[in-house]
């Protein structure tokens, strides 16, 4: 079952600053998988589950709260 990762940032838009695993890479649960910047502040996003990563929003992509930036799961 794919697991969604979503933005926990504040009101304005943010940017995906870095991905720490490649698309298709194996991500352990709890690992820091991406970095988002919102209004000059950076937030590390942790993988809520372990599994294969599918990147939905690539590096430098703009995000809003609730945007799914990636999925972790099987298949």
């Amino acid at each position: 079952m794919p697991d969604g990762l979503w933005d926990t940032a504040e009101i304005p838009e943010g940017v995906v600053a870095n991905w720490f695993y490649a698309d298709g890479g194996e991500v352990p649960k709890g690992a820091t998988v991406a970095e988002i910047t919102v209004e000059k502040t950076s937030y590390d996003i942790e993988a809520p589950e372990g599994g294969r990563l599918k990147i939905v929003v690539p590096k430098d992509g703009v995000v809003l709260p609730g945007t799914v930036i990636g999925k972790i799961g099987d298949g």
């Binding site: 870095n18 194996e26 991500v27 690992a31 970095e35 910047t37």
Partner: protein, 341 residues
């Protein structure tokens, strides 16, 4: 199980420092804004939280005092990692670096160790003007008694940092701002890399052939490794096969790898973001010439910063900065080909 985890250079540096601090209570960090801020260039992110104020110390703006203190602490059994925020600031504190850190092992006949790491940010290209954009590799490589390292990517960054911390001699760790992977400054694709989670070292004095080739040898370090690789891509389309060597460390310098490569290709281009005259590019060429100038089928070429203070205005700065196009042109010159239109 090998991990696919990618780190930015800054995170790789912070991870290296954190691992060594966990392993050895004598390792501590000091510098400006390296505590809560995590370092202006993110080299110490997360460390204050884990290790506290005693071992992760924000200092006043007093480089002479705290770098001098680093030397003294290193001579008194500690293993300090000191940050000089911008390499350009060395002017205010050079004595502690070049007259004390670099010479006290020698002055004591080897009886004192100086296990200090001085890490500092180099480089420009983002309009930070003449006092915040310098690279200064040669200024420090020129001083006997200082080891000098400059990683081009996150994998090397972690290994070189761990080696630096474990070294009993003073090491100047020069990291390029544009390679850090900062959220507020663009960095090239190849800077972030897969970085193993465990501790590992990279020995000093071992250059790396990051792109094997047969037609020309391009020798470089730090940010310019990425420009050289871009140039190599451009040249490959023209049927020119460039070998790119990442020096990784300036002191000790791996001349062997350079000589072996030039013996193979016969052509040499050296690239450095530091000022051209009296620098790294000259040192590499001299090393080849004094070993066997007949290895060279053509005059060697250097692509470096012109001998001018770094200009602020973007068109002028970009004119001066070494880039992939200039590297490719230099390669074509060694092959007696016309420059690209």
């Amino acid at each position: 199980m090998a991990s696919d985890r990618v780190l930015t250079v800054s995170r790789a540096m912070a991870e290296a420092i954190g691992q060594e601090m966990r392993a050895d209570p004598n390792v501590f960090v000091m510098g400006e804004d390296i505590g809560a801020y995590g370092g202006i260039f993110a080299a110490t992110q997360g460390l204050l939280e884990e290790f506290g104020e005693e071992r992760v110390r924000d200092t006043p703006i007093s480089e002479t005092a705290f770098i001098g203190a680093g030397v003294g602490a290193a001579m008194s059994g500690m293993r300090p990692i000191v940050e000089l925020m911008f390499v350009d600031f060395f002017g205010v504190c050079m004595d502690a670096i070049y007259n004390m850190a670099a010479k006290n092992i020698y002055f004591s006949g080897g009886n004192f160790k100086v296990p200090m790491v001085l890490m500092t940010a180099t480089g420009g290209g983002y309009s930070d003007a003449g006092q915040h954009s310098q690279t200064l590799h040669a200024t420090f490589a020129h001083i006997p008694g200082l080891k000098v390292v400059a990683p081009s990517n996150a994998y090397d960054a972690k290994g070189l940092m761990i080696s630096a911390i474990r070294d009993d001699s003073p090491v100047l760790y020069m990291f390029h701002k544009g390679l850090q992977g900062l959220v507020w400054m663009a960095s090239p694709e190849g800077a972030a890399a897969v970085v193993p989670e465990d501790s590992y070292t990279i020995p000093f004095g071992q250059a790396k052939i990051v792109r094997p080739g047969k037609d020309v040898t391009i020798v470089t370090l730090s940010m310019m490794v990425h420009r050289a690789l871009e140039a190599a891509e451009m040249l490959a389309k023209e049927g020119i096969d460039a070998e790119v060597i990442d020096l990784r460390t300036l002191v000790p310098l791996d001349r062997q790898t350079v000589l072996q490569s030039v013996a193979k290709t016969g052509r040499l281009v050296v690239v450095d973001e530091d000022y051209q005259s009296y620098g790294v590019t000259a040192e590499i060429i001299a090393s080849v010439a004094e070993t066997d100038p007949t290895m060279l089928k053509a005059a060697p070429r250097r692509v470096a910063y012109p001998d001018i203070p770094i200009p602020y205005s973007r068109p002028m700065e970009q004119f001066a900065l070494p880039n992939a196009g200039k590297v490719a042109d230099a390669v074509r010159e060694t092959l007696d080909l016309k420059k690209a239109a």
